[in-house]
């Protein structure tokens, strides 16, 4: 679905006279292959390059080196740009800054309108997308009066209405409270399960990563770890060196192991930890 081959992205800064001052490599030699229907989480601290990478999946940025393919199409080619944006929808961090409509349903219709979808079909798409994110009863509301989690669900519906094969979410929960975070993650998981949409979730909340099929950890623009959540979270020290964390249950298991308790690696949830402790005695 999404492939990258030695992708490089460099920012160039200029001084007041327009001379190049320095070049920052935000993404450095990244290669990846995300399969259709996968739920992939990309972890990394602020400034690790994960958002820059995400923006390539939607052709908002194009690589300065290497190649990115979305659904087999090279994002560098000008004529592919709209198809790429339609097949890989994007949800951003700040819910206020990505809702265009003054009424919920009009916002969800914005994408299909841009694509030139016939009016009757826009209405069908709007209805089914709002249903998919469980926001149908708010269709006539003003987005300004919704909670953060609800706004993000509207934003997700806006992308779903474009019938994408893949949704890229760039820290969609960073500005939300715990309830809002739960709502959004539940919605995203449902889309992945029920509608079989490929999901790429960028985050630094470890609890949101547990359900992913694959986890990619980024640091200084590079991919430094790759694997299932269990494989990734069994390396507590390494994650900490990348300014990251592990879920609470994993952390407690890790502390217990350090104190000599014989627990297996990669405990993710509190249920697993309780079960393993019971097995011990």
């Amino acid at each position: 679905m999404i492939q990258a081959d030695s992708l490089v992205y460099e920012y160039t800064r200029y001084d007041e006279e327009g001379r190049e001052t320095d070049v920052t490599r935000a993404v450095d030699q990244v290669s990846l292959d995300i399969k259709k229907g996968d739920f992939v989480a990309i972890l990394g601290h602020n400034g690790s390059g994960k958002s820059t990478l995400a923006k390539h999946m939607n052709a908002i940025l194009t690589p300065t080196g290497g190649t990115m393919w979305v659904d087999g199409k090279d994002t560098k080619e000008e004529e592919n740009i709209w198809e790429v944006r339609q097949s890989a929808g994007m949800v951003f961090q700040n819910p206020d800054n990505q809702i265009i409509g003054t009424v919920v349903e009009e916002d969800v219709g914005f994408g299909p309108e841009n694509m030139g979808v016939p009016t009757k079909e826009i209405w069908e798409r709007v209805e089914e997308s709002l249903k998919a994110v469980k926001m149908l009863k708010y269709r006539h509301h003003s987005p300004n009066k919704l909670s953060g989690g609800q706004k993000q669900r509207v934003a997700i519906a806006g992308v779903v209405a474009m019938h994408p094969q893949c949704i890229v979410l760039d820290e969609p929960t960073a500005m939300l409270d715990p309830n809002g975070r739960r709502e959004v993650i539940r919605t995203v998981r449902a889309l992945n399960h029920v509608e079989e949409i490929t999901v790429i979730l960028i985050t630094h909340y470890m609890e949101e990563v547990i359900y992913a099929d694959k986890v990619i950890v980024m640091d200084q623009g590079r991919i430094v770890m790759k694997g299932t959540p269990r494989e990734i979270f069994s390396q507590v020290e390494k994650l900490k060196s990348y300014r990251l964390d592990v879920p609470q249950a994993t952390l407690l298991a890790y502390e217990l192991k350090k104190a000599g308790v014989k627990l297996p690696d990669g405990i993710l949830t509190r249920e697993e930890l309780v079960e393993e402790l019971c097995r011990l005695s």
Partner: protein, 284 residues
């Protein structure tokens, strides 16, 4: 005792269709040197509450006392109150405006009427407290990273040398390391400078790890006001109002059910580890 709220009520847009009763009969005492966690879901009134503590919002009715003085009394010096009760808003980096970090941090002390030299001295001290070294003084605040901006903005309030520091979700949007750094610095301010801290947070884990007392707000009322252990004992009630206890609390209760002799009131990872180790030793 430094701040005391008595029967405070606050109503937004009274007598209109949009009337919202944001605070209902809130009684609260904040003692000198305390480290308090203020929790509640969005819209529970916690942000409105903290704006009462430095007089930014005036209660529709009720009283607020600072060191025994009624802050609503005629002629009370509000400006002075605001320099003694520092309030760091959510996303405080959105208030940065000066050409360089040092000048921005000087804004508060200058408003207090300090000379340029005194203000700069205070600013440097504050920047050091939040871990921003000299190399940042002359940098534009807008070129800092997210975490550094946040710290510069907190320094802007610290430079006023408040006795009470209120922080509204100071770690929102930061990565795990950035979050730990800020919380450790706040904790150090409490320990070393004896500043009273009120920390508004959504993270039960953070609250459990740092604070000595928790105030839970729900629908404009104080629901619980006690130590973390006591408050999280009510984890079922907290869930009913859309909150939760730390993950550790749930694990402890689950283990207890399975017959482990653990202290189910443990709220931090360290406490949990110790009590589990103890119970395991007891079993073997």
């Amino acid at each position: 005792m430094s701040i005391k709220l008595e029967h405070v009520n606050y109503i937004y847009s009274p007598e209109t269709a949009y009337e919202i009763h944001a605070l209902r009969d809130v009684n609260l005492e904040i003692g000198q040197g305390e480290f308090i966690g203020l929790i509640g879901h969005t819209g529970s009134g916690k942000s409105t509450l903290v704006q009462h503590l430095n007089g930014l919002v005036k209660a529709t009715d009720g009283h607020v006392y600072f060191h025994g003085e009624d802050i609503y009394a005629h002629g009370y010096d509000m400006k002075k109150l605001r320099s003694r009760v520092g309030l760091v808003f959510q996303y405080p980096e959105h208030q940065l405006f000066e050409v360089d970090v040092l000048s921005d941090v000087c804004f508060g002390p200058k408003n207090q009427g300090l000379s340029r030299e005194e203000a700069e001295e205070r600013a440097k001290e504050a920047l050091q407290m939040v871990g921003l070294s000299e190399e940042f003084y002359k940098q534009s605040p807008f070129e800092l990273s997210g975490g550094q901006k946040r710290r510069a903005a907190i320094a802007g309030v610290l430079a006023m040398e408040p006795e009470v520091l209120i922080l509204d979700e100071p770690t929102a949007g930061l990565d795990p390391k950035g979050r730990d750094e800020i919380l450790d610095q706040i904790s150090a301010l409490h320990r070393e400078k004896k500043i009273t801290i009120v920390l508004v947070s959504h993270s039960m884990e953070d609250v459990a790890k740092y604070v000595g007392r928790i105030v839970v707000m729900n629908q404009g009322e104080v629901m619980y006001d006690d130590t973390p252990r006591e408050v999280f004992r009510h984890y079922k009630e907290l869930e009913e109002v859309g909150l939760a206890a730390p993950q550790v609390t749930y694990m402890m209760h689950a283990l207890k059910e399975k017959g482990f002799a653990v202290d189910e009131d443990a709220t931090t990872i360290e406490e949990a580890r110790d009590t589990i180790l103890k119970s395991l030793r007891g079993r073997l």
